[in-house]
Amino acid sequence: MTDIQEAKKKASWDSPETRKNLARRQRSERLFRNIGLSAIIIALCMLATLLVSIAGKGYSAFVQTRFTIDITFSEEVIDPKGERDEEVLRAASYGSLVRDALRQEFPQVTSRRDLRPLFGIVSKGAAAQLREMVMENPDLIGQTLPVQLVASDDMDMFNKGFIDRNVVEEDRRVKDREIAWFDQLDQKGAVETVFNTDFFVSGDSREPEIAGIWGAMVGSFYTLMVTFFISFPIGVMTAIYLEEFAPQNKFTDIIEVNINNLAAVPSIVFGLLGLALFLNVAHLPRSAPVVGGLTLALMTLPTIIIAARAAIRAVPDSIRQGALGLGASPQQTAFHHVLPLSMPGILTGTIIGLSQALGETAPLLMIGMVAFIVDIPGGFTDPATVLPVQIFLWADSPERAFVEKTSGAILVLLGFLIFMNALAVLLRKKFERRW
């Protein structure tokens, strides 16, 4: 007894021992704080590096080089019979309009050897550009007016400074004579760098200068719609059943363990499952958003179920008891009270699951969504690709100009992901409840 009291006295505030202990504790707390802080700083640095490098490479994808060239919409070439028949207008050789215009612009070029590269300074999409103009407004026929033609990818790269004119000619994709033509146009003020609407409104193309991500965006949209409408109701119903109605027994335990494991299964396995189930057994169309959506729904389901269960579990039992005590049936309790109260959490989980699905590539490769698709998908069964797969495809393309497209598409994808996650945060903030 006295020993203890004595020991207590010694361990009072001021004893050297206490001070030593205190110093040690404070040191370890400082150390821990610093470690945590540096971890965050390192993470932020990495994120910043990533963003800066992607943005640095990708921002140029959002602008496009155009040459303003006088085009003569000659009636002879477009519509020799003068009937203005749509079919005739569509089938006309607009390429020759472009070629004629270029010959006029550069009268000094005459040899066959030089003409080919000359015609190559504008994009192969230029003809289509003219066709569209004429189809929209047939009155153009017979007129001559300046048109901004999309430059070829090499000219575009040169204009954006990715090709250095000081490099020896053999090592340079853009040859001296092309640079001369460019300079000639530039002196005239005919070279313009404009916002690249093509990038946002057109589908994929073999020509990088006119390749766009709209097709992939629409494909992603349809795919995510399918994913959402399959996985959300099923996931929420499963969660409600498991949390509110299912008896606690071995069987539900097994289901629970399996759902948790499913969330950890590599996504490519879901792709294989989709391939076996939806393509080989159900014979759904290949490369279609419906199959991609179903496959991603399989992958997203566990995420939604787990998030929804957590949200449902977070609803205090007193609310359930209050409702039951008033004579609400278990079903009314679940749907009138528990579900609305857990909805913010469920939606947050769903959006996180969907943004995972939006960024997913591997399972879609398994079900053939990796095809080169030019047309904008018009529905759930049209062949389509999605944003991350588009990035994958472009990253795989050899042309220099696809590098910036890849980064540009990544930026767009990141934009969507940030938007979705911000939405999730917003929803959570907005509907946060006090009990």
Binding site: P247, Q248, P316, S318, I319, R320, Q321, G322, A323, L324, G325, L326, G327, A328, S329, P330, Q332, H336, H337, L341, R433, R434, W435
Partner: protein, 264 residues
């Protein structure tokens, strides 16, 4: 022993609820052991006893809230107006509309005050139109003594009220379903003395039209508001009788010990 503590039959308060030999098990653990109790109509019956003695368990038997507890099993017979409430023909959801419940912690729904009170009538279809519903909500709030305080903010959320107001809102919510019996599990334990006094006053007023069974840890509260008191101990009813008699001259020494503060 149980036979001798049967309450004296009072002619003016015929038993509306009668529990006979009720035993409750949570999984294998026995929480109530052969409890018998008659509850008189339009009376306030208080259940007292040390923590864990089974008061809440018994209360939850009376509106079958125990059915929602996994692993809980009820034996014995409980009749309401002579009908066995555990009979297979009885729907527990309808039973709970007749036997309302107010909980220890005020648990208003995170909705408007109006919707809190209107919820019960809505799910039971008690109002034919909006006017009738308004009427039920206002009378219930009035009966719960809350109307004055919330009349001009019926659309404010119920969780924004003070603790005592929330508890009265929960009482109003229970009243709106027009039950015959109201079970209250320590309704004042989370409230300050002033709010407690208000709720107590309200309970006394409600006695005219309702049968009230209240669990309380406050002997003074039991003495103040109830006509009959049952003392629970270790899952059994040790003594039950008129409140005044039980508090002044308890016949069992455990009751004596509890009310004089020697244990519990």
């Amino acid at each position: 022993m149980l036979a001798e503590v049967q309450p004296p039959e009072t002619s003016e308060h015929p038993a509306i609820i009668s529990a006979k030999e009720v035993s409750v098990y949570y999984s294998d653990k026995k929480a109530l052991n052969a409890v018998s109790l008659d509850i008189g109509e339009n009376q306030i019956t208080s259940l007292i006893g040390p923590s864990g003695c089974g008061k809440s368990t018994f209360l939850r038997c009376l509106n079958r809230m125990n059915d929602t507890v996994p692993g809980c099993r009820v034996e014995g017979k409980i009749t309401l107006d002579g009908h066995d409430i555990y009979a297979s023909s009885v729907d527990e959801v309808l039973l709970r509309a007749r036997v309302g419940m107010v909980f220890q912690k005020p648990n208003p729904f995170p909705k408007s005050i109006y919707d809190n009170v209107a919820y019960g009538p809505r799910i039971h279809g008690l109002a034919k139109n909006k006017d009738e519903l308004d009427d039920i909500v206002l009378t219930s709030l009035e009966k719960a003594g809350l109307l004055k305080e919330v009349r001009d903010r019926l659309n404010a959320t119920g969780t924004g009220l003070s603790g005592g107001q929330q508890q009265r809102l929960c009482i109003a919510r229970a009243l709106a379903v027009q039950p015959d019996i109201i079970l209250m599990d320590e309704p004042c334990s989370a409230l300050d003395p002033i709010a407690t006094a208000k709720v107590e006053e309200l309970i006394e007023e409600l006695r005219e039209n309702y049968t009230i069974i209240i669990v309380t840890h406050s002997m003074q509260q039991a003495a103040r508001i109830s006509q009959k008191t049952a003392f629970f101990h270790l899952g059994e009813i040790v003594e039950v009788g008129d409140t005044e008699q039980l508090f002044t001259s308890p016949s069992d020494e455990r009751t004596q010990g509890y009310i004089t503060g020697r244990f519990g």
